[in-house]
Symmetry: C2
Subunit: 229 residues, 2 copies
DNA sequence: TTTCGGTTGTTGCTTAAGCAACGAACTAAG
DNA sequence: CTTAGTTCGTTGCTTAAGCAACAACCGAAA
């Protein structure tokens, strides 16, 4: 287990918790580490779950089935990524299935133990609870930002908003992203071809400069203006 | 304060907490009750907040300013509605302004006191923490359902999905809603005229039956089929 | 009763962007 | 080097739905 401490400590759930604190918590929670073969299911659509999972090794996908049976990719999870956190706190059924894309390993923390402070009142336990709320809250806001994009009427507005947002997040006007074109099109909910078309138009108009997955904002005022409509 | 106990106890935050438990918690938290005149601000866009607010009396609106300065209505809050809960848990700035639409009264609970169990380890305090996480999680899932609608490509698909979803939520195939047409159009992110047009088409095709704000699903199989594309 | 604000339905016109198909560039494996 | 898989750009065609404008309806207030 020790080999995974760095991964755990890098997650938002254990942010700010010392190594000693982590060990106390593991002592207390006794989380289960499970190994999955490629194609096995970590969390099944339509079921409740009361465990918070963290991927330790390998890759997993969050997928959803459309009414006509097709599979839609929702998220991609790697080491350090957390799943089941929002679900555990609610009494709802999982909206997604988490599927092992490669052989992988995950650790499961029982939600009830996390949310109930134990007698010893570890300082780190309290930090963990705050982190849990913060983790869920941040997921909410991330989703909220996406909704703000999705409700914009034109692709141009979506792109302007997204570019400004991303620049603000990264703290610079020249930045690159990990998403590829198809991924960005998915996120913005548009056609990949339309995305290419619009990005080129914007480059021609002198609003931005493109190079592969790098973006440079040339005229933020105009971008802000066009983000509105 | 006693007069507002029923409102507090009806909220998701105090769900399952006894009157005695509520009084203990109030004793412990000493939340502030504030009165606002119409037009005053309960929570300002762009600022952090570390209080969880509950409307006790009157009406307030959650609004957002678009880049070009226009005001967009996000939510409408009445007695028993909670705000600032997701925000408090994060270290982010508020994405909305909460504005008193009428004279109103709200109570503010300090987040830090809620998230830190105190020495006395009230049973109800623990319930409250669970409720807080549940409240935030449910807001997340509500948003998630909306995203699922927004990413559908056609209005027909959005409507089919929404109708099936709403019927499932209300547990019957004939139901009515509180939203008016404009509100529903906003939620689905489409034009009100297009919404009317499409609903009528669907009625003509024998998929549904309409009467004002009542909907009757006639052919759920066809609806499910068309929800996909 | 009349009037008025608010909510719906309706309908042409216009357009942003979906769709489909193909070609170019790049990478990795054989 | 060859081949095969992936990603990205490009471009006509087509259409869903946005936009604007008006008419019908309804309930509340005057």
């Amino acid at each position: 287990m020790e080999e995974y401490y760095p991964i755990l400590m890098s997650t938002s759930l254990f942010r700010g918790i010392s190594l000693q604190g982590l060990e106390e918590l593991l002592q207390c929670f006794r989380p289960q580490v499970k190994t999955f073969h490629k194609g096995e299911i970590l969390l099944l659509f339509g079921y409740e779950s009361h465990d918070i999972g963290i991927i330790l090794d390998g890759q997993a996908d969050g997928i959803k089935n459309t009414p006509d049976g097709a599979e839609v990719l929702i998220t991609h999870l790697g080491p350090g990524d957390i799943f089941g956190d929002v679900l555990s706190g609610s009494s709802l059924k999982s909206p997604v299935t988490i599927l092992a894309r490669t052989d992988c390993k995950a650790v499961f923390f029982p939600y009830q133990k996390i949310i109930h402070p134990c007698h010893s009142l570890h300082y780190s336990h309290n930090q963990l609870m705050q982190n849990l709320v913060a983790t869920i809250s941040e997921k909410y806001f991330a989703l909220n930002r996406r909704v703000d994009l999705l409700i914009l009427k034109t692709l141009r507005a979506k792109l302007c908003t997204w570019l400004l947002d991303e620049a603000a997040r990264q703290g610079k006007d020249t930045f690159s992203i990990t998403l590829n074109r198809a991924g960005l099109a998915d996120y913005l909910n548009c056609e990949r071809s339309a995305l290419s078309r619009e990005l080129n138009r914007m480059q021609n108009e002198g609003l931005i400069e493109l190079y592969k997955s790098s973006f440079k904002l040339l005229d933020k005022a105009a971008l802000a203006n066009q983000a509105a409509h």
